[in-house]
Point group: C2
Chain length 162, copies 2
DNA sequence: ATAATAACGGATATAACATATCCGTTATAA
DNA sequence: TTATAACGGATATGTTATATCCGTTATTAT
């Protein structure tokens, strides 16, 4: 199993948006250019974020994306779910009731212990992602980005926003 | 993202093997029949379990699979990893160093905060799966299986093992 | 007004991966 | 000797992820 690559892209983009001066917006085209990503495909992911309200969009020249709410109120989990969708990773197909020993569907109430254990693990995963705010991501990112790159980025965004 | 369906199959099969009388073995053919699964594909998954030592196999008539060690010493995590493989679900592609602001690779030491957060969540997931033993799965399964199905299963396996 | 920008949704095309089958080989028990 | 069964490799099929393309609408700048 492999997680959608778009998750990585989306988190990076949100982190950039979180550092944007208030009132400013960045179009998908610029974000794609900055990370060297396929423009139209990234745009699709940005639209997913927009549908979830994580970012707000504005059309036309000077338009683009900005955060939909403060970075302190966006969890890593929100971004992951926006891209990955809400479906649980483990989906039981009820094989217990198949085959020669299966009995009537009515006899099976709740999902079995296997499914419950898998879902517990998934809940632990989500909980952990829920604890991390975009603001933390942004802050850590800023601290750990090489100085030289920070300067180049600032200059580049300066041009882009002009 | 969707987890391999084989995980569900494999856990169910291991749970059956855990209830097998000592010394007995079940061939993949019988397991597939019992759960109404594609025989050859299930066989592939059983081979994965075998490679990891979770089950031991014996060839020839009367052969098949049995547990490779006591059910108390097999974790749900072991089975999941045997089928799903050891690779982490989140794989960062280092997009931070791409694009116009990227600098030399030497400047990036450890993985960034995004990757670390994603991996922390995955660790939480694995930890949760590591806490569940196959013996618990088996026990819970036995308790929650409808009476009628238990009887049918016992009869069916009685014939199969004869 | 007009032209350029940009989000948006839908329709593709392509690549990657999961699912499933098939085959030949080896080992082993009846 | 025959039948069973695991094993590994090759292949086929289906489904999902990845990526592009198009037409439309909204908005800004000229
Ligand atoms: S609910 Fe449990 S027993 Fe039923 S198919 Fe899902 S995992 Fe198997
Ligand atoms: S290590 Fe972090 S910054 Fe680098 S590509 Fe992975 S997620 Fe992005």
């Amino acid at each position: 199993m492999k997680l959608n690559e778009g998750i990585e892209w989306a988190v990076h983009c949100c982190s950039i948006l979180a550092s944007l001066p208030p009132g400013m917006a960045l179009p998908a085209r610029k974000l794609a250019e900055f990370f060297d990503l396929p423009e139209h495909y990234l745009a699709k992911h940005m639209q997913s974020l927009s549908q979830q309200g994580l970012v707000s969009s504005s059309k036309g020249p000077g338009g683009g994306y900005r955060l939909g709410r403060p970075a302190t109120e966006i969890a890593l989990l929100d971004i992951v779910l926006a891209i990955d969708g809400p479906a649980p990773h483990f989906r039981c197909t009820e094989i217990r009731r198949k085959g020669p020993s299966g009995v009537d569907d009515k006899c099976y109430g709740k999902p079995c212990g296997i499914a419950r254990a898998m879902w517990r693990a998934e809940t632990a995963w989500r909980d952990e992602l829920g604890k991390v705010s975009l603001e933390e991501i942004r802050h850590t990112g800023l601290e750990e980005t090489p100085h030289e790159q920070l300067e180049k980025s600032l200059a580049w965004f300066g041009d882009a926003l002009k």
